[in-house]
Amino acid sequence: MRDLRAAVVRFATALRRDALPVTVVQVTDAVRALEHLDLGDRHEVYLGLRAVFVTRPEEIPVFDRWFDAFWRVQADEVVDVMAGLMSVPVEAESPALPAGAQQRDTLALEGWGEEEAADTGEPLGVPGLSDREAVMTQDFSSFGPDQLDEVLRLTLQIARRLARRLSRRRRPAARRGRIDLRRTFRANLSRGDLLELRFRRRKQRKVRLVLLCDVSGSMDLYSRFLLQFLFALQRAFGRVETFTFSTKLTRVTDHLRTRSYRHMLRRLTEVRDWSGGTRIGESLGQFNREWPNLVDRRTITIVLSDGWDTGEPDVLATELLRIKRRAGRVIWLNPLLGNPSYEPLTRGMAAALPLVDVFAAAHNLAALRSLAGKLSL
């Protein structure tokens, strides 16, 4: 029994390293669960431990990977299974990752962490940071690495203001609401008659945000700031689901749920599975298929992208329409819109434009700030 416990702990450690946040209670539960399972039946042990360790369908592949690695030993004897368990070193590389998987073309986010740590020593004659207005209207693409902290601070401020606006639940209403029996009753307890009526209003349903952020190569100059904005917004306003996409979609809500921005960047680079091109339509399609219920009438969906789509514009139009039908509001933020000579003529952008409720720039802090007026239903 002691060995069994040790084996489960090792198993849990391996899962944790593979970004599955297993808790101590789950480990204890796993050990308890094994007491109620047929240890000679591999499938049963698999199902049982999966019920304990996995908490969402996306985690199943990670679990499967490690379960296979641990239980690879085909044995009907429990002892053999356990011996197999003990002999697999926890340090082993994740078995499903081929060696070349990390090598890709130009990626957004590539090497950001290092860049921040090492001073590139390039002042480039950027405007002084004390000059706030200048910072507010400066295009994101022209910021130097040394300005990151200041921008982060301002972004956070803006995000907090937006979040306050979003979470306001009560609105003044001319009509009085329904009679609140509970409070009326309490107020009149000593009288025996209901002289003083108390009212209540229907609670406002809260607004939710779904953010879909383009992180393909063409967005590189902007996406780091926009991600920063997403991070700040999610921190200040809990009801946010965040996804990144290039050729495929990744849910990053949990990765943004961390205290420091730098830590978040590190976690994001760990999951990065995006590559060169941009398939906006197909990414939105993946969103619609895998997260069909995330968007409803109280949801504002924000797409952050320059609209450079290498896929079919028809696909983009169809998938965006699907979102639009369900969402309270669809906002498309395009950083290129900040450029006075820009016209949304790319095929993707032209297809998307008629379906969008708000089309706005997102190239500088002032543009992000002016979002406030658009974030209500």
Binding site: V25, D29, A33, E44, V54, T55, K203, L294
Partner: protein
Amino acid sequence: MREEIRKIQDMMEAAEYVTDAPVATSVHLATRLRKPLLIEGHAGVGKTEIAKVMARMLGTNLLRLQCYEGLDASTALYEWNYQKQLLHIKLAEGSAGPLEQREHEIFSEPFLLRRPLLQAITQEDQSPVLLVDEVDRADEEFEAFMLEVFSEWQVTIPEIGTLKATHPPHVILTSNRTRELSDALRRRCLYLWIDYPSFDKEVRIVERKVPGVNARLAREIGRFMEVLRQLRLSKVPGVAETLDWANALVSLHADYLDEAIVFETLGCVLKDADDLKRFRAEVGKAGFAPFLPAEG
């Protein structure tokens, strides 16, 4: 396979619920470890059904808490029956007595409306099954409140005192993923993801649940649904749709599928104009044959 798990599987089948090893194992562990079981899956794959079958299996009560946006602690736990209290005061008017005593009278058990959570806590003879249905529809605040109740199984009503469960309930939570549930809740529960059924399972479900269906039709329906779900539909049909459709086909005396009868009854399965269009385009392109099982 453990004897208990096989037994659960048999009992579920006997209760007209077509099941498989993942479901049976999860239910087994949930009852043994006394942990809440969180079941997620697409609409119409039979999540709620599990709680009902479990209650029947354990021979106990099923208490159901249907979640919706704005559901708050008082609606889920208890409320005072104000109308009754009011009436009581009116009737007792004139009868003298100190205010405290009168207040004490009307804030006592007979005036308490027990909502599902309180009912679950105050079961006297055996643990009930508590179904918290569509928990993703409730707010985050309610989720936190529920976690609190689940950890202690006791509630304090200021006017009455603290009530603690002598037989804590078996808890089943279901979610359609309209919102991601908090990690705290997820990690507190055992987890079961129910996907659309495999071909074999779906055929078994149809044969089990639809009287009068013949083996050929059941297999053809199973195959049709399997292929249909691979088209990129916006509203993928669940098992509920399969059963509606099978019943419709049987009542039309269909013994097998052909293009005409499928188009006639397609509304049972596809409920979105775009999906209908997509299906028609698919049949126009590749014909109807891919939707039928291979011969032999």
